[in-house]
Symmetry: C2
Subunit: 334 residues, 2 copies
DNA sequence: TTGAAAGCGCTAACAT
DNA sequence: ATGTTAGCGCTTTCAA
């Protein structure tokens, strides 16, 4: 038995037809006589023939492959949900995901040329923001780029995300409304648009309402970073009575440090609010008050951009969907 | 500006060389005069030329794409770690991951032909076990298949996994050693090899040591299923004083139900032991005693199979790496 | 309805 | 060291 894939030529020979006829028989839209089609399909299935998608792509200039660039897959507890949703929805459309895991310390631009080499039909980027050059190149060759929860000021890329800035403002409001006096912001991975916008909305709104001396601690989107940042904040002489964490996973770290390392009562002595509403946030061990990202609607919006017609291409779209405060038990608020 | 990818022909024209020379200039191993190579590379980078991997694959019969089939990406808290590791390691080898998310309720065999259509160089399967026909087909065309923590009795596929059976035995031993009287097994997703083997090792060892009346509850690899199963077990007239959960994520659900719904002291009144050692297991809110899966070594072993030489193909390999009991605070054991 | 022919962009064999 | 030629497996004109 030869180590060889079955090709349409093999099927054609056995069926006594030409090779293109095999192609047509497999394409429901093509005109083939019912008998021929039946015979070809029978032989194809008998031989276990599967069309070579690579060859088809070369000819048809469309791979049905969507490139997705992520980082934090293991640590954020948010990306994995996003990824699974994308995978399911795209598979239903007959499209596949080519996954690129971006090291958080290196610019995406280094791996994007590689991704484009695979002739992906679209590119979803959920890690850091790519440079202008790459985005221009994608526009030139007609490859849609969707920044998912990433914002690239001044570029032509499409953006789908949660309205992070408004989310930050909401948190500022509820904390001030509840009478918190010493408020802190625990930042996420620096340079990410999500962190920038959440911080901006939060800080701006605090200032607007006359609260200016907000504490701040650098962080990173991970549980451990949340723990570290929480220690810094809570060891101060004037520790905060409320912390807004840029992501749920950091908030969980902060909660654990407060409760199990420092013996601080949450929410009695300290309010903690997160952002994302990951599944863990609702578990009773945490019961985290947070801003819910409308992930289903965000995915749907992204998918529309993935599949839009090339003619629509030059239209740049920015879709920011509102988050929603989910009140649980980690914050003393009205 | 034309909506068209730059091809090697474009580069060739501008450089005043033939198209194959462009190919050679980009391949460090090919003989090209230094001056020519420099000129070609300069022009290529100026035009933003990226080789078309699809075309290359068609010719070279190797795509550098590895197919990976997963389910539970969002819910298990284990798969996402596996996936990220694979992605990183494979990228370092210049290979990419084509991700297929398998619906848990449908057989993998339905999507595998589709995967093979992409001419993947290897196939990693971490969801359910594929049928014999597909595995034979892969063997015939020389595509390595690696079952990751899945076991297909009687097939020729390669297997890499944790020694689940031995892990189950270890748990049986420590629970009996500590004098537990009413022991229960909380099963994972039925039909998965991991669940089968863990249960077998556990039950067999209990019996060997004279304990026969082990309770049992059906479950599924998710937090919610762990909660549901825990309620069933703990609502019994003779509730268990120890539960071995087939996966950490179920154990976390069980812990939360015990503590927050039923007010049961863990580990004083109930011992809970999991399997996997996911990151959450070490968080102080859970502090779960569990069997650690040697995920790094499992990934390495799988990667060796992914990249092995075709000549080695017929050698089937089964690699079972030992897990390790990690003693934390959720079980009253010696 | 079907077959013949061309070609997607690249690599590999051969020739120079 | 470089150019010429062929061909990977498929889809897509174009004829018949």
């Amino acid at each position: 038995m030869p180590r060889k894939k079955v090709t349409s030529i093999d099927v054609a020979k056995l069926a006594g037809v030409s090779q293109p006829t095999v192609s047509r028989a497999l394409d429901p839209g093509s005109p083939v006589s019912p008998e021929t089609r039946a015979r070809v399909l029978a032989i194809a299935s008998e031989l276990g023939y599967t069309p070579n998608v690579i060859a088809r792509s070369l000819k048809s200039q469309s791979t049905n492959i969507i490139g997705i660039v992520m980082s934090n897959l293991a640590s954020s507890f948010f990306s994995n949900n996003v990824l699974e949703q994308f995978a399911h929805q795209l598979q239903a459309l007959g499209k596949q995901l080519l996954l690129f895991s971006a090291p958080p310390d290196r610019p995406v631009d280094e791996i994007l040329p590689q991704v484009l080499g695979y002739q992906v039909d679209a590119l979803i980027i959920t890690s850091s923001t790519p440079g202008q050059a790459i985005i221009d190149e994608c526009a030139r060759i007609g490859t849609p780029v969707i920044l998912f929860n990433r914002f690239a000021p001044g570029t032509q890329a499409n953006v789908v995300g949660c309205d992070n800035e408004e989310g930050g403002r909401q948190v500022a409001n509820v904390l001030l409304d509840a009478g918190h006096q010493r408020i802190a912001y625990m930042a996420g991975t620096s340079g990410t648009a999500s962190n920038l916008m959440r911080e901006k909305g939060f800080m701006d709104q605090l200032k607007t309402r006359g609260y200016v001396e907000c504490m701040r601690e650098n962080g990173f989107y991970s549980y451990e970073a949340g723990r570290t940042a929480a220690r810094s904040l809570l060891d101060r002489d004037d520790p905060p009575d409320a912390i807004f964490c840029a992501a749920d996973v950091m908030a969980l770290g902060a909660l654990d440090v407060a409760r199990y390392e420092l013996g601080i009562q949450v929410p009695e002595d300290l309010s903690i609010i997160g952002f994302d509403d990951i599944p863990l946030a609702s578990w009773p061990a945490y019961n985290l008050t947070t801003i819910h990202q409308p992930i289903n609607r965000m995915i749907s919006a992204a998918l529309e951009l993935v599949t839009y017609n090339e003619d629509d291409f030059p239209i740049r779209q920015i879709t920011l969907l509102p988050g929603e405060l989910v009140i649980r038990g980690s914050a003393r608020i009205a």
